[in-house]
């Protein structure tokens, strides 16, 4: 087991290296530079000075090498180009938690509600709860985030001045953004949960449990839930990783100082450092969360646990027979 984890962690670094380097090369190869979009009157000398200051005049591979060198020696991801004087990792440390706090609320509430609705829909298939689940899923998927955010904002801050329109401060500023962030996970997890529960509910062991006379709640909690968690956990991993990066639409609508607006802006304004740094953050959390998920599989499902052990034996003996 320990060996498996160590191996996975080594792979993690490899994937991180490949992804970040690729992103670095890609963002640099998009035409235009940080000055094109903002400075109208740009003599050659000024551009050359700018390039020299930020090391953009070097060949791309040299820049890439410098990036990794800086990271490995000083642990820094470099200075932002659009926000001169501020290091990219400072942004991450300061603003990723804001996005995360907001996102985790949306996700936790959304996933919980979605799962409850999904279970309910599966248990009452082709009845009202099922149709309600389908309806919520339709709403959650087909109402674009900006529409929902705009409607919520107009209704709760202009029509009824119950909440502040935008900004960041106490708990009150959480309500509307979290409300907007909840709908989409409710929709998604409701549908997946319903499908998973339906898969499980016809299994023999449920029948066995029922015939043993176990109370319904216990059956659902002990047998159904545990066996439906695999896809849910699989889907949660990227969502959790995405939380740190924040949501572009929600954060720009409610002027939340998270990371969500930075990424798209950084690409548009060619803030190479920020693009690479944010990709670094995303990839690291994403890959890590996938590792956690793979380990969770072992905890959730006994069959998977059994298999990892068996596999080592099986590899040698099984190969010929499988051909």
């Amino acid at each position: 087991m320990a060996k498996y984890i160590i191996k996975r962690i080594l792979y993690m670094f490899l994937v991180l290296f490949i992804v970040v380097s690729t992103t670095f090369i890609m963002i640099h190869s998009i035409p235009g530079d940080p000055l094109t979009a903002t400075v109208e009157n740009l003599p050659e000398a000024t551009r050359a000075n700018y390039y020299a200051r930020y090391g953009l005049d070097q060949p791309l591979m040299v820049q890439l090498f410098r990036f990794w060198k800086l990271f490995l020696t000083e642990g820094s991801l470099g200075e932002s180009l659009k926000f001169p004087g501020r290091l990219a990792e400072e942004f991450i440390v300061k603003y990723a938690p804001i996005s995360f706090q907001l996102g985790i609320w949306g996700l936790v509430i959304g996933v919980t509600l979605g799962m409850l609705l999904g279970i309910n829909a599966a248990l009452h298939k082709n009845k009202l709860p099922d149709y309600f689940g389908t309806f919520v899923a339709l709403l959650g998927t087909c109402i674009p985030a900006f529409v929902l955010a705009a409607l919520v904002q107009y209704f709760f801050t202009v029509k009824h001045k119950w909440f502040p329109t935008a900004g960041w401060g106490g708990a009150i500023y959480y309500v509307l953004p979290v409300l907007c962030m909840t709908l989409s996970p409710v929709a998604t997890y409701c549908r997946y949960m319903k499908s998973s529960v339906l898969d499980v509910i016809n299994q023999d062991y449920i029948l066995t449990a029922e015939s043993k006379g176990l109370p319904r709640g216990k059956i659902i909690w002990r047998h159904v839930m545990r066996n439906t968690l695999m896809p849910i956990v699989t889907m949660l991993a990227p969502s959790v990783a995405g939380l740190l990066g924040g949501s572009f639409i929600i954060e720009s609508m409610f002027a939340i100082p998270g990371l969500g607006t930075y990424f798209v802006k950084a690409i548009n304004s060619r803030d190479y450092t920020m693009v690479v740094a944010m990709n670094f953050l995303f990839t690291a959390t994403y890959v890590f969360s996938l590792l956690v998920v793979d380990l969770l599989y072992l905890v959730i499902d006994p069959r998977v646990r059994l298999e990892v052990k068996q596999n080592r034996r099986a590899v040698a003996s099984n190969v010929p027979s499988e051909n």
Binding site: P31, G32, T46, N49, P84, V158, W162, A166, V175
Partner: protein, 577 residues
């Protein structure tokens, strides 16, 4: 289920909000006690704002008793990249800086008023400007000296600073040579003969120098103390202007508070200004709607209608020095032909574009220069007249003109001809406009089609500069310097890449740079515009941008300069509910 949870959640948070409001109200009344002290008994120094001795009820300005609590909430379009003026490349920063520093001269509602200086004079050849500084102090109590202004200007042009807007400062003597690393920064045409005098020499004659460049002071030892970190957070800043920055929640809001050490502090009424960084227009409209901000520029028809109907809002249109236009690639086979360029310019439907597509906010273009550009006392637009209308009158049948042009090129039938138009935006508004122009071009010119391509601005501009386009659309801002627009079309300039090589025109711009007399200059500018628009039709101007500002009726004294960088120095409120 979901309903209950959200209701419970809402309740919890509503309670939280109430608690929050309570705190705010406690804080707020404490504030006015401090402001009333400096502004109380003052002898009126500016005639326009007679300040009467304070009565118990409050301060009276221009015959009105102003509110006890003086604060302002506004929306800044974008988060300032940095408040370090040497490294900033974001336009939004300018507004904040003009509140924190004293420029030598401040443009207040179109009038130049000495801020850092008491008076100034220009030499006869128009190349040397002398400024006599007034007594003003930095936030830390040290005096603002002439050296501070010199330091700032020199830093902007030093190659190692890499100031992105250095190009605008090439008009200062030796500016270009210093920026190119050929000369030492001490040779710059901004010098300080003594602590209270700043002398500026320009490379060529720039009558509108003070509207073109903003000269801020910068305290060298403070700047060097923070180095790279200067301007990144509120506490790294040192102000000498009407306000100091007390809080900067990045990407959310900036708080400015009155600077008591400012020389004119008695005429600064606002105690606190909150500038929200809101990128999403809908959000800022909602904030104006519910009174979270006190004024706002509104660009969407529907919201304009909604706000016009409101009785507590006043609408003003502020013209800007920005032209929205199509420009042609002279290197292209077809667009090297003048008749084809003119046919498109004439066929362009400016009325519907301005009135319907752009919501009536901008003004229909009449030529290259906007209505806010002056040469001495001459308004360039009024002097030159409507060049576009003249062209439309001259060529009543653009389709025929196009066919003539095509015949001169390769004899293609108009009905088989298409051209490509590039746009530096991927927003749906741009797309909507482009689709309208596409359809009108097809209808009016009888051509087969127009191929539209949308790219992110930097990609688009990059492609245009390498000559990879036929027609492109952009909006270009001008400085107050009349030579600026003409300079864009000289042979060596590739800023707007029309690839226009005309020695006669280059010579004309050269002459303009040596001429002092406004009447003479006006004639040269007129000739220049004639070459660019009437004779060659290098660009097809569409409209002049405007800010359509809605402000609450209780707001007074908002500075509206067409060249941006307005300060909140003169703002106050009367009767804020």
């Amino acid at each position: 289920m979901k309903k209950y949870v959200s209701i419970v959640l809402a309740l919890v948070l509503v309670l939280g909000m109430l608690a929050g409001c309570g705190q705010k109200q406690e804080e707020a009344p404490a504030a006015p006690s401090t402001p009333s002290t400096p502004a109380t008994p003052s002898t009126p120094s500016t005639p326009s704002e007679p300040v009467k001795p304070a009565e118990p009820e409050g301060i009276v300005v221009n015959g009105e008793t102003i509110d006890k609590e003086q604060y302002l909430n506004v929306v800044g379009s974008d988060e300032p990249g940095t408040l370090d003026e040497f490294h900033n490349s974001v336009a939004a920063t300018g507004n904040i800086l003009s509140n924190l520093f004293t420029p030598l001269v401040r443009n207040m509602d179109g009038v130049l008023v000495g801020d850092g200086c008491e008076s100034w004079e220009t030499s006869e050849d128009g190349l040397t400007w002398t400024f006599h500084l007034r007594d003003n102090y930095w936030q830390d109590g040290t005096p603002v000296t002439a050296q501070d202004y010199v330091y700032s200007a020199q830093m902007k042009l030093k190659p190692e600073t890499a100031f992105p807007y250095a190009g605008n400062w090439y008009l200062i003597k030796n500016g270009q040579a210093i920026n190119e690393g050929k000369m030492d920064a001490s040779e710059l045409g901004v010098t300080a003969p003594d602590d209270k005098t700043v002398v500026i020499e320009t490379e060529y004659v720039v009558p509108s120098l003070l509207n073109t460049l903003t000269f801020y002071p910068q305290k060298q030892d403070h700047y060097e103390k923070y180095g790279e970190k200067y301007g990144t957070e509120a506490d790294t800043m040192l102000s000498c202007g009407p306000f100091i920055i007390t809080d900067w929640t990045h990407n959310s809001s900036i708080t400015l508070e009155k600077n008591e050490k400012y020389w004119d502090a008695e005429h600064v009424y606002l105690e606190k200004v909150t500038v929200y960084s809101i990128a999403e227009p809908t959000t800022s409209y909602n904030m104006l709607d519910n009174g979270s901000v006190d004024y706002l520029a509104v660009a969407d028809n529907d919201y304009i209608e909604r706000f016009t109907a409101r009785e507590d809002l006043v609408n003003t249109r502020v013209q800007l020095a920005r032209t929205f236009m199509w420009f042609f690639n002279m290197k292209d086979k077809y667009f090297a032909n003048e008749k084809i360029r003119k046919a498109i310019t004439v066929a362009f439907d400016r009325d519907a574009t301005v009135e319907v597509l752009l919501g009536g906010v901008p003004i229909k273009a009449k030529g290259l220069y906007t209505h806010v550009m002056y040469e001495g006392d001459y308004n360039i637009r009024e002097y030159d007249g409507d060049l576009i209308q003249a062209m439309v009158d001259k060529y009543p049948d653009p389709a025929a003109l196009l066919q003539e042009g095509l015949n001169e090129v390769d004899g293609t039938k108009a009905a088989d001809w298409t051209f490509k138009a590039g746009f530096g935006s991927t927003g749906s508004k741009m797309k909507e406009q482009a689709e309208y122009w596409q359809d009108t071009m097809i209808k009016k010119l009888g051509i087969k089609g127009v191929e539209l391509s949308f790219d992110d601005y930097a990609i688009a501009m990059d492609g245009w500069q390498t000559g990879n386009f036929q027609v492109a659309c952009l909006s270009w801002g001008s400085t107050a310097d009349t030579a600026y627009m003409l300079n864009l079309f000289t042979t060596k300039s590739n800023a707007i890449p029309v690839h226009f090589d005309n020695p006669e025109f280059d010579e004309l711009v050269n002459t303009l740079n040596k001429t002092v007399d406004p009447a003479e200059r006006m004639k040269i500018v007129q000739k220049g515009e004639d070459i660019i628009i009437t004779q060659n039709c290098l660009v097809c101007p569409i409209s002049y941008n405007c800010n359509n500002v809605f402000e609450y009726k209780y707001v007074r004294g908002v500075d509206r300069s067409p060249f941006g960088n307005s300060s909140y120095k003169t703002v106050y409120t009367v009767g804020r509910p």
